[in-house]
Symmetry: C2
């Protein structure tokens, strides 16, 4: 059985950077926590805990500790809180997420109705949202939602960085129909579309596709959905332990990709396990 691993599988630039910053911070600082799990990988969060980085989900529970801000970023209110309490901050917010926050803020400041493409409950979306001040701001996960938003004549659009481009552009098109001026910042990260396009191509060239990543990772779920549209024999797994040999009966080629928050060692374990499939 041939195993084809997507070049773009796994950590993106922002996640790699955040993970490096976290391990580095753990070396320098003993009393440190991350605000929410650093990335959507329970396995990596476990390793970080072993290094002394606890996860704190409620900012009020942070007690005189250093705080790692994860790649998704935080809300402006949380930022203010950390500042007011003079807590030491390791800001591992992805630079691309920072840009989305900045552009959303700029659109709000210039009087646009701001629309963010993404899922309302996604922490990155919550962060971006909070940077829009004194302006109307809406979250649209899909075209149907975008069609219902009560808009002004001047509309500004940004995206949560891991959104699918097709969804983003469909929403842009719907908003163009409904506005006189539409100012769009394409804040989708290239890494995401590169990974998605490679996954799409790979899914069309293999018999079975494995997508590795946290079940709570939006970008991994999206990746699995994209592959499944091309190839129904697509399996979303978190670790090598979830693999069943029977998936590969009569299979000649298996493709592998992984979400932006899937650690390298988990991908290696999956490849190793597949090598042993009879």
């Amino acid at each position: 059985m041939e195993i084809v691993l997507a070049k773009s599988a796994g950590f993106c630039f922002g996640v790699k950077r955040a993970v490096n910053m976290a391990f580095q911070a753990a070396e320098e600082d003993e009393n440190i926590c991350s605000l929410g799990p650093l990335i959507h990988s329970p396995q990596l969060v476990e390793r970080l805990e072993a290094e002394g980085i606890s996860v704190v989900n409620d900012i009020n529970a942070v007690a005189d500790q250093s705080v790692i801000v994860r790649s998704h970023g935080i809300t402006r209110q949380e930022e203010d809180y950390l500042h007011q309490h003079k807590l030491k901050v390791v800001d591992a917010t992805c630079p691309f997420v920072k840009k989305a926050q900045k552009y959303a803020g700029l659109l709000g400041a210039e009087g646009y109705s701001v629309v963010i493409v993404g899922e309302q409950e996604h922490p990155e979306v919550q962060g971006i949202l909070s940077y829009v001040q004194n302006a109307e701001v809406f979250v649209a996960a899909d075209v149907e939602t975008a069609a219902q938003i009560p808009l002004g004549k001047r509309v500004g659009l940004v995206a949560q960085t891991t959104q699918a481009y097709e969804n983003f552009s469909s929403i842009a098109l719907k908003l163009l129909e409904r506005s006189k001026e539409l100012r769009i910042f394409n804040t989708i990260c290239d890494a995401t579309s590169v990974r998605q396009n490679e996954a799409r191509e790979l899914a069309g060239a293999v018999d079975v596709m494995l997508v590795i990543g946290g079940y709570n990772s939006a970008n991994t779920n999206r990746l699995a959905r994209i592959c499944r549209e091309i190839l129904p024999h697509t399996y979303h797994i978190e670790t090598a332990n979830e693999i069943f040999d029977s998936w590969f009966d009569g299979v000649e080629r298996v493709g592998i990709t992984a979400g932006a928050s899937t650690p390298e060692w988990i991908i290696r374990e999956v490849v190793a396990k597949l090598g042993k499939v009879q």
Copy 2:
């Protein structure tokens, strides 16, 4: 035979305004010309000439006369020329065209690569184009052209006011693919899309469709194309004289629409002639 006349057939707001301004000016001023034909209707231009308004195609040929600026507008250079030569100007530029000129200028001033959706040689496009200063500016008639434009990361988009919305939005979508920021002013005049939608609907409900308007009128040509896609039995005519009875053999319903620069009396003549078809 039932005759259905589209509600939106004929003069739009800007043309009605320009024609009224021209007849008014002819009453007040004996030495007056229009820079280019006032609207794309040879029949109306003839009437204006009878009122003493000559057509001057080259601005350098204007000699101490009052000048009517037609609804399409003029270039910034022509505007400057008229100003410098202290000529009396009756500015009948359509207010919607003025907006397109203004937004194109604003986008250029704010450092965007400016794209104008329209035909390069259209006088309105030439006018809009000239208001972009110290910035790159391109004209795209279709998606294929838009795909080739050498763009910066920040792209601004406006449209010649009588463009079809579908073409405009397709070009917007292509430019979104190719830029980081896309700022769109939808400068398409509502009257155009209302007229186009009504024509599309009417063409689907009749056996023969007549589209009345100058052969040199871009918006009339587009209207005829839209109808022909729905109904091959669509005829583009300039006057009632061009109608052949044989077009209506066995026909139960005939639909009529007319371009933005088609005078009311020409539409009436066509309706009258159809009433006499055996």
